[in-house]
Symmetry: D2
């Protein structure tokens, strides 16, 4: 409440709080009276009281997420994608091309991923693109190629689903469904993907707070599906030398807040292939659950994201460098 | 190209440019060689060449949008919503509650909007909410109430559509379809809404650049529908005293770049009702095409966005203040 | 406190709060215990308790500024610069070139400002420049030219001071001292400038919150000098089509929080001369105290900020447009 | 140039470019004519031409920094602070309390740093504080305590200098001068500190781009002093769960752009002590030159930054974890 707010204004706010089923407690201070509100989910209350006479601000003091929270679910969740366990001692590496472009390109990339010891194959068949004039993916043909690469190289497949009506189709081919950054708050899609009971990879929105990201995961867990892996992929800032700013601290921070595993995508997170390996090794050092990186046999001919894709050769070098420190840190790869 | 890049690297980049159908021009400088690329849509090229040996950066020098651009369509587009024309001398005021909550609430709000001279009724039946535990709207029942308020008060209706499968249903009731900020890059939805040939209100994403916003509009125009109104509603910044930072300069700037009209939403843009009227008057002063504001008969009982909603009384005061300057500025209201 | 925090942890935090002279109040909730802290300046406390066992977060609920606050000083402060009163009904226009470049340039600009009805002459003699290779101002020679323009055209002068050791010299020539955005948190400079008892124009830092900005003003008022005008000049965001994002809502918001007047700088705020007039008129509409704009007789030959400078002709047009709405809004110009 | 710009407009821009001593080259495209500008420092030109008729944009294609650039100085610079070499195989750890508060506190902290194997002692005697009511440091008494701790524990000392007039005094006591984030663009201070020929630790500004940061270092190198260490300490973003967002990718990126070493400050970068160790290990993994961390014997009694300070125990654990991976990565500690 503002200083000098008369007692009637204070009482009116207390009454409004009670009317909504919460318990108000007056906290008289030197300059002003504050009102504490008790109850397990008083978010909706904030909007109601903030504009009442005498009110200066309404400040939440507890976290709004429940199912994803570490507080009420202390043990870590392990997510299984095929035979790969994410969230345990394995540092799980998901790699592959940004877009599936052709059979030759995908098989070459998948072969390189398998040979260097990657665990999961990634590749986009449906591509969200800022410009309608950019390449938007091969669609179901791309999914078929992914499934065929899985059979050939023994790697489970993660791929993005963009629209609710594609959820069933993508589920037929993929071992894990990816929700892209632009769709992090597409709540209908979150719930539809959640209902498949497939493991879900939920990318952080370009400018989503960690709280919003966890609340989006809450939509999926609300469908009874707790097989969710979070993916930090860089946030939008004022810096222009990198495509995004990789918020690597999100990995250890979310580990405190939530039981869900977090993987890191240094390809989108930096936008420059030369920064991918340093940030990948940093992700392992920060104890992330794993990695998602873009690998393309010929980055300079890629139809999307060439600038941030590793060649097979650089990918193998990255895996070598990860192996140098995995053991000392108590992880395996 | 970097300084000292050997001639072979320069030639390789030129060859890569030509191979993709564009024309390269070498620009030898004191420190380095630059390569100019000519052609009408070289975006896809950037990814391809940026990682080639010797390349320092690839800088676009022309804008990537076409159909929405002022350059190739100099005259302004006027969008018709019922009998209301947006993009002409009228300063169009869209107003109403954030969410449709009940018949009483909606009729009271709509009556207040009509009486004070508002032109279009807004109200949400489908509400995207950060938390799954918040009120998510009345759905089709809300749409029916909106249609009934339209009949009673003679105001055309704008309301949000969140999922592709709801597009047809919402189109049956609404005069204008709103694409919300969280869905600005939900491309399937943009195209589905565009195909209805209804006028579309496209809100700017929370952290979308103006270029991305115009490219999203390009998806709609690509369906043959040019009846698009852009809505600036505040962007995410580091400032926490306001809910968002209203980027009012977007209104005159987009008027230079595009032929589409821009309206301003000071309710979401600021998050505080006391700032709505000053920023609404500022929007008119900056020559925006109109306004979208939240009006609620009892903001302190609102199920969403109460803190930023005007009462009917304050809405009428805002309209009065707008009238003070509309005429002198050559506008009507 | 976190859920399940044992009573000893709660008591330990309460004891820590008391030890520092504040009064703790336990607020038992359903999920957790919260602890309210009463006292007029508990900022320093936050650091102390946030890392104690069981503590989840420490959330401030009252504003940290005192002298600049509206709460304890309800009436607005009027700042006098020569005979010009800022903070009253006058919409005060400060205008002139970014940098003083030569006598001819300055006199031409000052003459144009005076003729079109501007109230205060601005011009930089000391220029902070991102690159050491850019033009850094004429120094004391520039100050002499400003003083001479004041004598000739009867306009009081505002100019930037960058270093403590220049404060006395600049005070000899200038009617108002400007603290630039880069120096907003140069506390030694704030106090030295404050002690001159000259009116101070305090620009908002490029990425300062409103709270930090007001706390910087608090440093000046702490020297016994309340003649402070705040200047919103745009903040740094992800948007690149404008140089900065002009946070116009800061004007009405600071008017609620503080008794100090706020002027708006649409030249730096947008970086494009074509956006200056729309945003200047918007600033008046949002009830700002005044304006700071860049005027240059030949913007395309300017040594700094040419892209955002108005010509004398465009400046006169802006003044005309401001006059259209000043009267209806109860202001004069 | 805009599409359809007449030949006279194109020629006028070319003439303006030549007049300023640069060489223009016309690049006719399908839609428009572009004009390339050759020359080693065309920055000042941008302002001049951007507002000329027909000009759409002026885009820089080469980097504006020279002395700090890797391009013209390929070998890495090693900075010597006492006997400690930063920029070579050593992972240099600077540690100590945020503020020097008392002899007991400092000696306890310094002893802990020395014992666990830290290399340089940090501690603030002059503290820039957002609020004038917060603790602002012990001044020269703090410097004397730092010098005494150096003698006792054999650790060279780095401490911040805030004002030009303090540069000489601080230089008498400190082995390395720190320029704080708030002063990154206080150019007078940069030059005064540079002229001492002491090694300088230049923190990145809260919302400075990497380009601006390197240009600030250019001010120091311009004084003939190349003993500069850059310190990434987190940037301001929309995220509120961390105090800042640590831009760890800045370390490998600056290593590409510049020959100067980069250290990382995970204490300010995250604001939470529990994130300091993961991000410190990540900094080593990303091949940063070293670390700056806050250590306090009793963080919950610290006068500043307690929430982000490590205890001596946690600091020793961090050093252990760093040692696990230093060797495998070819570094020593």
């Amino acid at each position: 409440m503002r200083a000098q707010a008369p007692a009637e204004e204070v009482d009116a706010v207390c009454a409004a709080v009670e009317e909504r089923g919460f318990r108000p407690v007056k906290l008289p201070g030197e300059d002003r009276v504050a009102i504490g509100v008790l109850g397990s989910n008083p978010i909706s209350l904030r909007d109601a009281i903030i504009s009442m006479p005498g009110v200066v601000d309404a400040v939440p003091v507890s976290k709004p997420f429940k199912l994803v929270g570490r507080e009420f679910h202390p043990e870590p969740t392990v997510v299984k994608v095929g035979a790969v366990e994410i969230g345990d001692s394995l540092f799980a590496v998901m790699a592959g091309p940004c877009s599936v472009e052709s059979e030759g390109q995908l098989m070459e990339a998948a072969g390189a991923v398998a040979e260097a010891g990657g665990h999961i194959l990634r590749g986009g068949a449906f591509k969200p693109r800022t410009s309608p004039y950019a390449f938007r993916g091969l669609g179901e043909d791309g999914l078929k190629l992914l499934a065929s690469a899985r059979d050939r190289f023994g790697l489970p497949v993660v791929t993005e689903v963009m629209n609710i009506e594609d959820v069933d189709m993508v589920s037929q081919y993929a071992d894990m469904l990816q929700i892209g950054a632009r769709n992090m708050q597409n709540y209908g899609l979150l719930e539809a993907a959640g209902r498949t009971m497939r493991p879900i990879l939920l990318k952080r929105g370009l400018s989503s707070t960690i709280e919003e990201w966890l609340l989006s995961a809450e939509y999926i867990l609300g469908q009874g599906n707790n097989q969710v892996v979070l993916c930090e992929r860089g946030i939008r800032t004022f810096e222009t030398y990198t495509r995004n700013t990789l918020d690597l601290s999100a990995a250890p921070l979310v580990r405190e807040l939530s039981h869900l595993p977090v993987v890191v995508d240094p390809s989108h997170g930096t936008g420059k292939w030369s920064l991918v390996t340093p940030m990948a090794v940093a992700a392992l050092a920060a104890d992330a659950a794993g990695l998602m990186v873009e690998v393309h046999p010929h980055p300079d001919h890629a139809l999307s994201d060439g600038a941030q894709s590793l060649t097979p050769h650089h990918f193998a070098e990255m895996m070598e460098r990860l192996r140098l420190i995995a053991n000392p840190l108590g992880r395996r790869i």
